[in-house]
C-alpha cells in the first residue's frame, strides 16, 4: 500500500469517528456555515465540536505548516482528505476569507512575526477577516483607489471609504489596500495593511442587495491608526500582493459549486416528462447544452489545476476559469428559474425555504461582477494570453 493509500485509510477512519452526524447533512442555507471569529455563535454543539476536532488535527488548513496551525499535508494528501470528506458528505468545518484569501498571501509575503501572529488564529477560526479592496470610485479600475494612509513614523493614519467589503459588519480584522504614495503611476504607491475592525474610526454599514440579503458593507475609515508592523510586504508595493490574492479569489469564485442537484432533475421534477422527454422541448435543449458545458468546464478546472505545478498559480488562466465558471453559473440559474416557473418566484414562504431559489438566482448576478467583472477578465485574457495590442 502506498503512503497515500495509508493516509486515505487513516483519514477515513478518523473522519468516521470524529465527524458528528449532524455535520454530514447538506447545509440548507448560507446561515448554516461556520465562519468563526470573536462574535460567532455556533448553531449547534455539533458544529462547535466539528470545528474543534478539525482544528486540533490541523485540517482546517491541511497544507499549512504545523507551526501555523496546519497539518503540513502535501497537495495530493489534501485532495485525498477532501475526497474522504466528500465521501461522507462532511460539511466544511470553517468558512473563512482568512483561509481562502489572506492566508496564502501571508504565507508568501509575510515576515516571521506576522505569520506567527495572524496565521494560527485563522486556522483556529478565532479571527474572522474581511477584504478592503473596492472603493466607490475604484471597482473594475481597482488600482485607482484613493483611501489614504499618512506616514506618522511608527504608524499610519488611514482615511477613506471601502465598499463591497464582504461581511465587514461581522469581521474582526480587515486586510486593506491603501494609498501611501500618489506621485507615480496608479499601480505604484499602493500598500497592503492589516488592522483590527474594532479600531477607533472604523464603521461598517451593510448594503441591502437585490436578493434582500446583506453580505456586503460600506466601510468608512476615519483617522484609523495602523501600526507599521501590520504592513504586509514592502511599502508602496502592495499591488503585486493584491493581484496574487485576486488570483486565489478568482479560482475560488470560478470553482463554486452553485447547485448540488443536477439541473435536469430540478427541471424534470418541476415540469414533468412527456414520452420520457422533458415536457418543454425548447428548455430541454438548453438544459442539455448547459450540462454538457458544465461537464467540460469541470474537466477544465481539473486539467488546469493538474497542469499548474503543485502550489503554482494558474496565471492568467484563472481569469478564463473565473469568466467561464461564473457565466455558466448564471446561465444555469436562469434555466432553473425558467424550469421552476411560478414556484421559483416565491420570496417569503416556508414552502420556498424563504425564497431560496429566487434569492440564489439574484445572488449569481454578482458572480460575474465581484473579484473582477467578466469584462475585466476578458481584458486580462486579451492582454496576457492573446497579447493583443493596447489591451
Amino acid at each position: 500500500m502506498s503512503d497515500l493509500d495509508t493516509f486515505r485509510m487513516d483519514a477515513r477512519t478518523w473522519l468516521e469517528a470524529n465527524c458528528p452526524a449532524e455535520m454530514r447533512v447538506p447545509e440548507t442555507s448560507d446561515k448554516d456555515a461556520c465562519w468563526g471569529g470573536r462574535n460567532f455563535e455556533f448553531k449547534s454543539e455539533a458544529q462547535k465540536i466539528w470545528l474543534e476536532r478539525m482544528v486540533a488535527k490541523g485540517w482546517t488548513v491541511p497544507t499549512w505548516p504545523t507551526e501555523y496551525g496546519g497539518a503540513g499535508l502535501s497537495r495530493k494528501e489534501e485532495i485525498v482528505l477532501l475526497q474522504e470528506m466528500k465521501r461522507i458528505k462532511a460539511r466544511n468545518p470553517l468558512s473563512s476569507f482568512g483561509i481562502w484569501m489572506l492566508g496564502p498571501a501571508l504565507l508568501k509575503f509575510g515576515n516571521a512575526e506576522q505569520k506567527a501572529e495572524h496565521l494560527p488564529p485563522i486556522a483556529r477560526g478565532e479571527i474572522r477577516w474581511c477584504q478592503g479592496y473596492s472603493e466607490p470610485g475604484a471597482g473594475s479600475d481597482l488600482a485607482s483607489l484613493k483611501t489614504k494612509a499618512e506616514d506618522m513614523g511608527d504608524h499610519y493614519i488611514v482615511n477613506g471609504q471601502k465598499v463591497w467589503t464582504s461581511y465587514a459588519d461581522m469581521a474582526d480584522w480587515i486586510f486593506c489596500l491603501v494609498r501611501t504614495d500618489n506621485t507615480g503611476k496608479k499601480h505604484h504607491g499602493i500598500s497592503f495593511v492589516l488592522f483590527d475592525m474594532a479600531s477607533e474610526g472604523v464603521e461598517a454599514r451593510p448594503i441591502k442587495l437585490i436578493s434582500g440579503r446583506s453580505p456586503f458593507c460600506e466601510t468608512f475609515l476615519t483617522d484609523v491608526k495602523v501600526l507599521k508592523k501590520n504592513l504586509l510586504g514592502e511599502e508602496h508595493k502592495g499591488w503585486s500582493i493584491a493581484k496574487y490574492l485576486l488570483t486565489h479569489e478568482r479560482e475560488m469564485i470560478g470553482n463554486q459549486e452553485g447547485v448540488t442537484r443536477p439541473l435536469h432533475e430540478i427541471a424534470a421534477g418541476s415540469l414533468g416528462l412527456e414520452d420520457g422527454k422533458l415536457a418543454d422541448p425548447m428548455l430541454r435543449a438548453k438544459v442539455a447544452e448547459a450540462e454538457i458545458d458544465e461537464w467540460a468546464f469541470n474537466l477544465t478546472m481539473k486539467r488546469k489545476l493538474a497542469e499548474a505545478k503543485a502550489g503554482a498559480s494558474l496565471g492568467a488562466d484563472s481569469s478564463m476559469l473565473k469568466y467561464y465558471g461564473t457565466e455558466l453559473n448564471k446561465r444555469k440559474f436562469e434555466l432553473m428559474m425558467d424550469a421552476t416557473g411560478h414556484e421559483g418566484l416565491e420570496w417569503e414562504s416556508d414552502r420556498s425555504n424563504d425564497g431560496k431559489m429566487a434569492r440564489s438566482w439574484l445572488r449569481t448576478k454578482g458572480n460575474s461582477i465581484e473579484g473582477g467583472t467578466s469584462e475585466v477578465q476578458l481584458n486580462i485574457i486579451s492582454k496576457h494570453i492573446l497579447q493583443l495590442p493596447g489591451a
Binding site: 422527454k277 435543449a285 454538457i292 461537464w295 474537466l299 478564463m320 469584462e375 477578465q377 486579451s382 495590442p389
Partner: protein, 378 residues
C-alpha cells in the same frame, strides 16, 4: 483521470506536429482540389503515415499495429485538423480498425495488418438520410443461400469511392428506428449490384453515395453478431466521434490562432484592429471556449482508453461541444478577417468548410444533446 499528457503522448504530439506541417499542410489540400485529384488524398502520404505508425495507431501489435490508444490517435487527428490534411485516417485507421477489432479471427488477421501497413482503405457505409441516424438504418440484408442479399442506399460514405472494402450496416430484423436488428457486413465494392457515385463535398474531401441492388455476400462477411451490430457500432461511433472531436479541436484552434494573428497585423482607422475591445472580448471568449473544448476531448479519449463505462457518452458529449465551438471560431474567424475572409486565397474559409463537414459527421451538436438528454432520462 490524468488530464495532462504524459511524456510518450507529448512525443507523439510533437512528432505528428512536425510531420503534418511538413508533409501535408493546407497547401496540399489546395493542390488536391485544384488538380481534381481522383483519389482525393495522397497515397504516398498515407504510406508515410503508415510508416510513422499512424495508420495502425489503434491496431493491436499482434496484427502489425502500434496500439497506442485513442488519446494518442486524437493527438494525431488534432494535428491533421490544424493542417486540413486529407487522408483515410478517420475512415480506415479509426472507424474500420475499431470495427474489425470486434471481428472474427479470420477478419482480424486479413484486414488489420493491411490497415496498419497502409495497404487497405476501408469505408463505413452507415448513414442513409440527410442526417446521422444509426437506428434509422433501412438498408436490408436478407438471407440468401449461404449468405445474404443487400438492398438499399447509403450516403456520406467517407472515402467510399476508393475503398478496398466497405463495412455496411444493414437491417436483418426489426423495423426502422429499432436499435436491435442491425448487422454489419464486409462488402467488396466491386461486387455485382454495387453502384458508387463520388460526391465531392464542400470541404473538397471525399464521400460517396452507394446503392446496393441485390448485392450478394457470403455468410462469413458478417462482422460481429447477427442482429446485434449496434454493439459494435456503438464502439465504432464512440471512437469516431472522439477522434472527429479531436480533429475539430485542431481545426478550431488553428482557425482561432490564424484569426488572432490576422487582427494583430491588420490596420484600419490608423490602428491595429486587434486593439479594439469589440474584437478583443470576442477573441478572449473564443480562447475560453477552445480551452474548455480541449478538456472535453482529452477527457473523452482518456475515458475511452481506460474502458470507462460512460466513455461512449463522453465521446458524444465531446463531439457536441467541439461541433459548437469549432463552428463559433470559424464563423467569427471569417467575420474578423473581414473581406479577405471571403476570399479563396486565405485559409480561414477552408477551415470553416472542413469544420462544417466534421461537425455534421456522426451526429451534430443537436443530435448529441438530444441523445445526452435521453441517456439521462429527460
Amino acid at each position: 483521470m490524468a488530464l495532462v499528457l504524459n511524456e510518450d503522448e507529448v512525443m507523439m504530439r510533437d512528432m505528428a506536429q512536425g510531420f503534418f506541417a511538413e508533409k501535408a499542410p493546407v497547401k496540399a489540400l489546395r493542390d488536391l482540389r485544384d488538380t481534381n485529384d481522383e483519389t482525393g488524398f495522397d497515397r504516398g502520404l498515407w504510406s508515410e503515415m503508415a510508416e510513422m505508425g499512424f495508420a495502425g495507431i489503434v491496431v493491436p501489435e499482434e496484427h502489425g499495429g502500434v496500439d497506442m490508444g485513442y488519446l494518442a490517435a486524437g493527438l494525431v487527428a488534432e494535428q491533421m485538423g490544424r493542417n486540413l490534411t486529407a487522408s483515410p485516417f478517420l475512415s480506415t485507421a479509426i472507424l474500420a480498425a475499431t470495427a474489425l477489432k470486434n471481428g472474427s479471427d479470420d477478419q482480424k488477421s486479413k484486414w488489420l495488418p493491411k490497415i496498419a501497413s497502409g495497404n487497405a482503405v476501408i469505408a463505413l457505409a452507415l448513414d442513409e438520410g440527410v442526417k446521422h441516424n444509426p437506428r434509422g438504418t433501412s438498408t436490408t440484408a436478407e438471407p440468401s443461400g449461404n449468405g445474404f442479399k443487400l438492398n438499399g442506399a447509403k450516403a456520406m460514405v467517407v472515402d467510399g469511392h476508393v475503398a478496398d472494402v466497405m463495412i455496411v450496416a444493414a437491417r436483418t430484423s426489426g423495423e426502422e428506428g429499432d436499435a436491435d436488428g442491425i448487422s454489419l457486413f464486409l462488402v467488396d465494392p466491386k461486387s455485382k449490384g454495387v453502384a458508387t457515385e463520388r460526391t465531392i463535398m464542400v470541404d473538397s474531401r471525399n464521400a460517396a453515395r452507394i446503392d446496393f441492388d441485390d448485392v450478394e455476400v457470403s455468410g462469413d462477411a458478417l462482422l460481429g453478431t447477427l442482429d446485434d451490430g449496434m454493439t459494435v457500432l456503438d464502439a465504432v461511433l464512440a471512437a469516431g466521434r472522439g477522434i472527429a472531436a479531436a480533429e475539430l479541436l485542431g481545426a478550431g484552434a488553428q482557425a482561432f490562432e490564424d484569426t488572432v494573428a490576422y487582427i494583430k497585423e491588420r490596420k484600419q482607422f490608423g490602428e491595429i484592429i486587434g486593439s479594439f475591445q469589440a474584437l478583443q472580448h470576442r477573441s478572449s471568449h473564443m480562447y475560453s471556449e477552445v480551452e474548455i473544448a480541449r478538456s472535453a476531448v482529452i477527457g473523452a479519449l482518456t475515458a475511452l482508453d481506460a474502458g470507462d463505462e460512460k466513455a461512449s457518452q463522453y465521446c458524444a458529449m465531446a463531439k457536441a461541444k467541439l461541433g459548437s465551438v469549432a463552428k463559433l471560431v470559424s464563423q467569427e474567424g471569417v467575420q474578423m478577417h473581414g473581406g479577405v475572409g471571403m476570399t479563396d486565397e486565405y485559409d480561414i474559409g477552408l477551415f470553416m468548410k472542413r469544420i462544417r463537414v466534421l461537425q455534421e459527421l456522426m451526429g451534430d451538436a443537436h443530435y448529441h444533446a438530444n441523445e445526452f438528454a435521453l441517456a439521462n432520462q429527460y
